[in-house]
């Protein structure tokens, strides 16, 4: 995550939308970090249109895209650009780190 932010800065990339890089703590203990963010959001939640969650990266041999609709579709398109072999799961129960599963959702879901 920090490397993405560093490379964007080094290449002079300026996103048209604001992009917030954030790391949550204490997910296993009850999503304390993500709950705190939602309850004390520094940016309006109703203007937060999408999240991209990186979970358990660097473990095992596969990369799996989990999700549905816009961001997941873009991940799939990006994987094709790089000819990356990925697994794709439209959705599955237990996505505990999904903060905003759909526009307008203001609380962590389980």
């Amino acid at each position: 995550m920090l490397e993405i932010a560093r490379v964007w800065q080094a290449q002079g990339f300026r996103p048209a939308r604001s992009v917030l890089f954030a790391a949550w703590d204490d997910e296993t203990q009850g999503w304390w970090g993500s709950k705190y963010y939602v309850q004390n959001a520094p940016y309006p939640l109703d203007k937060t249109v999408a999240t991209l969650n990186l979970e358990m990266v660097g473990r095992g041999k596969d990369v799996t895209i989990v999700g549905r609709e816009a961001v997941a579709d873009q991940l799939d398109a990006s994987a094709r650009v790089y000819s990356a072999t990925v697994k794709f799961i439209p959705w599955f129960d237990g996505a505990t780190l999904c903060l905003f599963p759909r526009p307008g959702c203001r609380r962590p879901c389980s």
């Binding site: 990339f13 300026r14 048209a16 991209l52 990186l54 660097g58 473990r59 799996t64 873009q74 398109a77």
Partner: protein, 140 residues
């Protein structure tokens, strides 16, 4: 969500004692980073900022102080030399959403053409998966 578990259905215990630094799969880590960077760049829109003109010739332009000779510049670029270095230092962007570019399109295409062009740009930026060039927004 990007995950590095073989099958989330069969592996509900994501955190394992053996998940330490020595066991990190670098290829997996890099693939995840590249896909995340590319997806974020495509979803966020925008592009590379223009190189700054030489310090002595730099003039600050704001959205409310567009100069007739200024070319359109991408949102986020905070400097402009009022066209004096056009074609030499600046990289023209055809994806600019800046108010200046909108005004220029009105002059060129009329209000209706500029308006529909702007709608098409916004729809493309927000709704469509974009096939950006590989390696453009990420480390090569």
């Amino acid at each position: 969500m990007l995950m590095s578990v073989e099958d989330p259905f069969d592996d509900p215990n994501y955190h394992r004692p053996e998940d330490d630094v020595e066991s990190i799969q670098l290829g997996n880590l890099r693939t995840t980073g590249v896909l995340a960077a590319h997806t974020l760049a495509a979803w966020a829109g925008g592009g590379p900022t223009r190189p700054l003109p030489p310090t002595g010739r730099r003039v600050t332009c704001g959205p409310d102080s567009a100069h007739p000779t200024c070319p359109a510049w991408p949102m986020g670029s905070m400097t402009c030399d009022h066209g004096r270095c056009r074609g030499k230092l600046f990289i023209q962007s055809d994806r600019s959403h800046s108010p200046q570019s909108f005004v220029l399109r009105i002059r060129k295409e009329g209000l209706a053409g500029a308006f529909f062009d702007e709608l098409a740009l916004r729809k493309n930026a927000r709704d469509r998966p974009r096939a950006l060039p590989a390696g453009y927004y990420v480390a090569r």
